[in-house]
Structures are given as C-alpha cells and as structure tokens.
C-alpha cells in the first residue's frame, strides 16, 4: 500500500517542488533524485507483488498485477535515466540560449507531472481514470513538445493536441460504451468501470456493444500509440520537442497507450469469445509496420527517422498482441520492454549527436565516432539493437513474433519480413554514414551523460542473452493474463 502511494506521490511532490525551484541549478538534480526515489518505490512495489500476488488498493481504485507492475517498474526506470540524461542536455540548451530559466522550470515540473500521469494511468483500476490520466499525460506533453516555442515546435504541438484530442475523444466514447455494457451487469453503484469487476463478469457483457466499444477504443488509444493512419502527429512531436521528451514519448507514453488497448482487449475477448479484437489489432499492426517501414527511407531528420522507427515497433507489438496466445503475448511484452530501453537509449545518443552537429539533418551529421567514440558507438549499437541484430533482446522478441506468425498466420510473414528488411536497409545506411565518415561535428562543451545509454543497452543485451528466471516467470504470468488467460 505504502509503496504504491509513494510511487504516485513522489513524482507529484517533485513536480510541485520543481514548479517552485525548477529554474535553479539544482533543479536537474532534484529531478533525477525524484526519479531515483520513484524507481526505488517501484522496485519495492514490484517485490511486494512478486511475493504477495495482485493488490487492490485505496477502496479498489488502484490495482496492481504482473502486467502493470512490470510496466510501472519500466516506466520508473526509464523516467529516472531520462532525468539523468536531461541534466547535461538541458544545460547545453540553456547555455546556447535556446531555453530560459522559466522554460527550464516548466520543463522540469511538466516532466515529473507527466511521469505521475503515466504512473496513475498504469496503476489505476478504473478505466475512466485511465482515460483521464491519459488525457493529462497528453496535455503535459503538449507543453513539453512546444517548449522551444519555435514555429515548428508550435505546429507540432498543435497537431499533436488536435489529433490526440480527437483520438482520445473516440476513446472516451468507447469507455462510455464499455461502462454502458458493464452497468447492465454490475448495476449503477457497483463500480462498473473497475477493471477487477469487469474482468470477473466479462463473459456476460453484451457482445455487440463491446465490439463497437473496442473499435472506438482501438482507434482512440491507437492514435496515441501511433498506429497508421493516425500516426502523423508522432514524428513531428518527436522531432520538434526536446530530446528527453522524445525519449519518454517513444519509450513510455506509447507503451501506456498500448497498455490501455491490451486491458480493453482482454475484456472484449472475454465477452465475444471470438478473435474479433485480435484481428482488428493484427490488421492495424501490420498496416503500421509496413507503412512506417517505407516512410523510414524518406526521412532526412534524424529524430523523425527514429520517430518512424517507434511507429514501426508499436505496429509490431500491436500485431503480436493481436495474434494472442502465450508465446506471442510473451514476445509482445518483451518487445515492449526492449523497445523502451533501446529507443530511449538511441534518443539520448541522438540528442547529444544533434547538439554536437548543431542540426538534426542527417546529411550534416558526419564522423560521430571520431569526435566522440562513446556517443558514436552508443548510437551505432543502439541502432543495431533496434534493428534486431542477434545478441540484443529485440532479436529475441522479434524472432518469437515471427515464428508465431509463421506458425499461425503464414500469410503475414512475408509482409513482416519485407518491412523489417526495408527498415533495416533504410536505417542502417543512414546511421552508418553518421557514425563514420569525415567529421563535421564539434565536441560538446560539457561531458555528455552516457551512463543511461549504456545502462539501457546493457539491459537489452542481457535480455537478449539471458532472461532472469523470475523475470521470465513474471512475463509468463502477464502473458497468461493477456493471451486468453
């Protein structure tokens, strides 16, 4: 109980503190400290759930099970490392005069508020609150994306707000329909939006309403996940916001939106007893993978490039969960983890690389390895990892997804393989040119924060070689829950 309270209140408290002193020099440290405390609390919560099983807290309003506790731990971890990374990154931006003290204060407090909103979204038992906190997360990130106040960033933030606003309104309609279906079974006072109650009675929910609700929910939260054709906000927001924000958007927010879809899918599967939800997700996922892979080769902006890569991976994960079954769900969860870790690591490296080059245009960034071997190799290794090269964890999960697809949906395999191939060719070529070649970049004034990059890549490497037994066990439980448990 106390652990969850801490997980939720620490970011909020930190946000409050930073709202007051966020422009001071110590703000970045406070930010990182808050992240560390949240991580510790999340770790304790995880241990508690592993030892004692599922928890429902605060008069059933919060619920922690293997599925969300693993995302909570991941969110806390990436939040902490991003806070670490943003310390030198933001200092450079401040020194270069791109950001004033007030903006830094806004950045720091909004960052923590964003963390809080996501943690609430993950741990809440109430699907209505889930919607509310998703919307809150959107609002905070709108401010973060527009942090630089340049025409481009304002445009990206506006697009982000309008598209996600529309999307999330669809999700609200879906939630209303879900509540409507549940209220017929559970009654008005029966906490009909509580997931624990819903999952108990899911078999008796009205199938027609639930299938309609799922369509709205998938479109709504799918917009936030970046599924094609509602993806166009994502590359803009990733490219124009500050790099730490790109890292958490890619690494965390997309996961949370996907988490919402998965929760709803479990209910819908229970009510329908068919593969309707899964088919929809597979369709959207496959479309996303294919379309984004072809967009990749046309990108000239390095952050947009990796933004599209995130879309691609989200499509892959959606496809995996759509296939269902223990193996695919296991792979999906694993892929969520490794993608978060790898993509945020890449964005850390990209952030520094763009600062060294003073531009985000790929053609103007050359010779990273010569000027700063750590940044260059970090970017290179991260890219290899995200492209699914063998020793890394992404390979494991993609391999599992592909083998399941070959087994159950052979028609999808060539499409997936082709898309992955195209993505590989597009990204590897671009990143290789940036890492090697004649240097056009100049060294950084401050020491870059590369610890987070290598922590993340190390974890991904470990997950590729050896998944610790308790972690595997934990994934299996969660996969059981998701995949027609």
């Amino acid at each position: 109980m106390i652990e969850l309270a801490l997980v939720l209140t620490i970011p909020l408290a930190t946000a409050l503190v930073l709202a007051l002193w966020g422009h001071r020099a110590c703000a970045a440290l406070i930010n990182a400290g808050g992240g560390l405390l949240t991580l510790v609390a999340a770790g304790a919560l995880t241990c508690r759930v592993i030892n004692e099983g599922n928890l429902t807290l605060f008069s059933d309003q919060f619920y922690v099970d293997p599925l969300n506790v693993f995302l909570i731990a991941l969110t806390a971890l990436v939040g902490f490392t991003t806070a670490l990374f943003s310390q030198p990154y933001m200092r450079v931006e401040h020194d270069e005069g791109k950001l004033s003290g007030g903006r830094l204060r806004l950045y720091h407090s909004m960052f923590q508020l964003f963390m809080a909103a996501m943690l609430v979204a993950l741990s809440t038992n109430n699907l209505g609150i889930l919607w509310v906190s998703m919307e809150a997360a959107t609002l905070t990130t709108v401010l973060l994306v527009a942090l630089y106040r340049t025409p481009e960033s304002l445009e990206a933030a506006w697009k982000y707000f309008i598209l996600c606003g529309v999307g999330i309104a669809q999700a609200l309609f879906g939630t209303i329909l879900l509540y409507f279906a549940a209220e017929r079974v559970l009654g008005h006072a029966g906490g009909a939006l509580l997931w624990t109650n819903l999952s108990v009675v899911r078999a008796s929910l009205e199938p027609t309403i639930l299938s309609l609700a799922f369509v709205f929910l998938l479109v709504g939260y799918g917009t936030k996940t970046g599924l094609v054709p509602l993806h166009s906000w994502l590359p803009d927001a990733h490219a124009e916001g500050p790099t730490p924000v790109s890292a958490v958007l890619s690494g965390l927010l997309l996961n949370v939106a996907l988490y919402a879809i998965i929760r709803c899918k479990v209910l819908v599967d229970g009510a329908l007893g068919t593969h309707f939800a899964g088919n929809l997700m597979m369709g959207f996922g496959l479309l996303t993978v294919v379309v984004s892979a072809f967009y990749l080769s046309r990108q000239r902006d390095i952050k947009r490039l990796f933004g599209y890569s995130s879309i691609e991976h989200m499509g892959l994960i959606t496809f995996a969960f759509g296939m269902g079954g223990p193996v695919a769900s296991f792979a999906g969860l694993l892929h969520m983890t490794v993608h978060s870790l790898t993509k945020s690591a890449i964005f850390f490296a990209v952030g520094h690389a763009a600062q060294m080059a003073g531009t985000k245009v790929i053609e103007d960034i050359r010779g990273l390895i010569k000027r700063s071997p750590t940044i260059g190799w970090g970017l290179m290794l991260g890219t290899l990892a995200i492209l699914g090269m063998p020793p890394f964890g992404v390979f494991t999960s993609e391999f599992m997804i592909l083998t399941t697809a070959i087994k159950h949906y052979p028609w999808a395999t060539p499409l997936l393989l082709a898309a992955l191939g195209v993505a590989f060719a597009a990204m590897f070529g671009k990143v290789q040119e940036m890492a090697f070649g004649e240097p056009t970049v100049k060294p950084l004034a401050h020491n870059p924060a590369l610890l987070p990059v290598f922590i993340h890549l190390g974890l991904v490497l470990m997950l590729g070689l050896w998944i610790p037994p308790y972690l595997a066990d934990w994934y299996r439980q969660a996969a059981q829950l998701v995949g027609q448990g």
């Binding site: 209505g128 609002l139 707000f161 529309v166 309104a169 309609f173 009909a192 027609t208 124009e240 947009r304």
Partner: protein, 226 residues
C-alpha cells in the same frame, strides 16, 4: 390508419428528446456558421441544452449525482469556457469570418450522411439501454461526428478548438443518455482535463499568432514530410 403509433414516452423523456434535437440543430448551426462570435454563442447554447437535459434527467430519475454533473456543465461549458473564449477573441481581436476548407452546403450534406450513419450505429445500443434517454444516444453520436467534421473543415485555430469543445459536450451527452453519466470521479477528471486543456490552448493562441502572424492553420506548413 391507426390513430397514433407513438409509444408512451413520459413528459420528461419528451423534454429530453427536445433538448437532444436542439443539440443536433445547434451542431448543424455551428457547422454552417461563418462568424466566430456567433460560433461561441452557439457553443454556449449547446452547453445550455446539455445542462437542461441533464437537470431534467436528474429530476425525473432521482439520480442525484447528475445534479453535480449538470452543475459542472453549467459552470464550465455555459459560463466558464465561453467567457474565456470571448476574452481570447477580444484580446486577439479576431472577429473576422471563419474560413472553411469545404463550401458549406457540401459540409452540410456530409453532415446529413454522418447523422444517418450514427443513427444506424446507435440503433442496437439504444435498444439495450434502459434509461429514459436511450433514444438520444444516436443524436449524441451524431453530434460527436458533426463536431469532428467541423474540426476537419475549419482552417482557423479558434473554430477548431470550439469544435473540440463541442465534441466534449456531445460525449458528455452520450454518457448521460446511455447510462445516466459516468462515475463522479471520472466526470470531475474529464472536466478538469477540458479546463486545463483550454487554458493551455489559450496560451497557445498567443504564441501561434506571435510566430505565424496569423491564427490560420494553413500557415503551419513549416514541417513537411520529406
């Protein structure tokens, strides 16, 4: 010829139906409106219709939490947001006509098609619902889609935001008509989100105008797909 084929709908239900029809009417009026100030007033009226229907529903069903949700509607959507919008318009001095990307008759025709679609979609849901407002779900969905259409067809920032808020209105209405409203916590949360979102957008308007010298979204073509 039978004398009457009308089901015995109670008076409160009829009044709610009237409010629902009004909301739909206002939805179309907003879609057809060319002037920004009138648009805000129409939005206010729509909030008023929502408020009225919620109060009637609360009164006739004895669902007391609906009074709260009606109060939120009144404070936020009839008084608060239109006031903020009026102030914004005055400060930004944008009283000019709204420009649309499609001509209005075409938009209206698409609107009719949307209404037909949403009535069809809502039919099975309405049949399952037990509230006195069940028939209005289709209208709520239609209003949502109409605001959606308005959002797509407008090229200025302020009308887009009004469309966004109108969409929120319709969703509230959907919630009230299908299930007598969501749980209180959720409704409060939604209201808070809308308010905060509005404030953020208000700040945005100024910055957009500063950067682009206009509130025309079509000016925003800095980011291009390569």
């Amino acid at each position: 010829m039978t004398e009457t084929a009308i089901l015995p709908i109670p008076l409160s239900g009829q009044l709610i139906n009237l409010c629902a029809a009004l909301m739909l009417l206002l939805g179309f009026a907003m879609l057809a409106q060319r002037r920004i100030l009138t648009l805000i007033n129409l939005f206010m009226l729509q909030g008023g219709a929502l408020f009225a229907s919620t109060v009637i529903a609360a009164h006739s069903t004895g669902q007391h939490h609906l009074y709260w949700s009606a109060a939120i509607t009144l404070l936020l959507k009839v008084i608060g947001l239109p006031w903020i919008l009026h102030r914004l318009i005055r400060r930004l001095s944008v009283k000019w006509d709204v420009e649309t990307l499609l001509n209005i008759p075409t938009t209206m025709l698409i609107g009719i098609v949307l209404v037909v679609i949403s009535f069809n979609v809502a039919q099975p849901i309405s049949q399952l619902s037990g509230t006195i407002m069940r028939a209005t779900i289709g209208i709520a969905l239609a209003c949502t889609l109409l605001s959606f259409l308005m959002m797509i067809t407008r090229s200025k920032a302020v009308p887009q935001v009004i469309a966004f808020l109108a969409m929120e209105n319709s969703l509230f209405f959907a919630a009230t008509s299908a299930t007598y409203g969501m749980p209180m916590v959720v409704e409060l949360g939604i209201a808070l989100d809308v308010l905060v979102g509005m404030v953020i957008l208000g700040v945005f308007f100024f910055q957009i105008r500063e950067q682009f010298d206009s509130l025309d979204i079509r000016q925003m073509e800095k980011i291009k797909e390569e």
